[in-house]
Symmetry: C2
Subunit: 177 residues, 2 copies
DNA sequence: CTGAGCAAACCGTATGGTCGGCTCGTAGGA
DNA sequence: TCCTACGAGCCGACCATACGGTTTGCTCAG
């Protein structure tokens, strides 16, 4: 798809990626590309929305259908994040993309709305809010950190994932830890 | 300073910020700016290095000199992150910058080396490695998340900070939480 | 007098966006 | 069934502008 090509180019060349470059990667001409997206900014905006959608789909796909305990969405979030972090590179790519795109007009609002939706979903997930927040933020942090290195130790990733999952299976506040 | 101006422009306009724009923000001409930095890429590289340095200085300044217990550096890291997250906006800005710059040739290596140094420093901090990792990644995640919203609830930030600090004052593995 | 610091004009190139035209699938009339 | 008209999708040439980097020359401290 066109947006996949855009994601690849923006991921490697930053938010300043040229329409030419994206079009070439997508196998179309610049004129053809701008026939679908009125302008470069609209293209990047569509990319941001697609990104958020893709990640949400990955999370919901990672939720265990047999899991009905509180925190199931949090566990899906953690698993989706770490899955892509271990064998693919798509999540860190998404982090770069989100950050790179955050300077494009309109994208900040999209990301903000998306984050708001996540917060509400976590609130409805049954876990103590602070506990859910800590777990999700830690997963975010691991994904962000995964950006800067050639690849984190897979064994460490596995342990961290297990720890976060274990934390999500307890309830109540974290204050007494 | 010139790099501060560069940080501001790159933070708002992305890694594609023009030399002109940075020069104007810094109050010098493009020619004058390129007199100090051979090229645009060198300027952005210097910016990345300065960024890493500034953050490291903030962390070390946030370490309580009377604190000699294991995890003191982790606590400094947490405090530095949350301090800037609450009253300034410089840390989220640093996150945007790091991500935006990560596509600039050479910057990825700088950030990677910096991250490696942090890992070593945390290893020498006396805390159980997995515990330190969780705390630091959670702080990173909170900083990253702070990007997308107009501002997280300060009270929630305060509580999260206290939680992370409390976690850093216990020792041993986290498995039994 | 000299050289560092800076400004401004300048150059070739790359960019975002527009435009005329080409191709082809298809609706519809005979 | 055949022919025609049409419109969506796409291409490649084109234009004005903005870009990175170089060069020239001014200013002023030592």
């Amino acid at each position: 798809m066109v947006l996949d090509a855009a994601a690849k180019v923006v991921g490697t060349h930053g938010s300043g990626a040229s329409v030419d470059a994206i079009a070439r990667q997508a196998g179309v001409s610049k004129g053809g590309l701008l026939h679908h997206f009125r302008s470069r900014d609209q293209l990047l905006l569509a990319l941001a929305e697609d990104l958020a959608e893709q990640f949400a789909a990955a999370v919901h796909a990672a939720v265990d259908p047999r899991d009905h305990a509180p925190g199931r969405l949090v566990r899906g979030y953690v698993n989706a994040t770490f899955d892509d972090l271990i064998d693919g590179t798509s999540v860190p790519e998404q982090v770069v993309l989100a950050a790179a795109l955050s300077t494009v007009p309109g994208v900040a609002e999209v990301l903000q709305r998306d984050k708001q939706r996540w917060n509400e979903a976590f609130d409805a997930d049954g876990l103590h809010p602070q506990r859910a927040l800590l777990i999700v933020r830690a997963a975010d942090g691991v994904a962000t950190a995964g950006l800067y290195e050639g690849g984190t130790d897979p064994e460490e990733l596995r342990r961290t994932r297990q720890l976060l999952l274990a934390l999500s299976r307890q309830e109540g506040p974290l204050a007494d830890l």
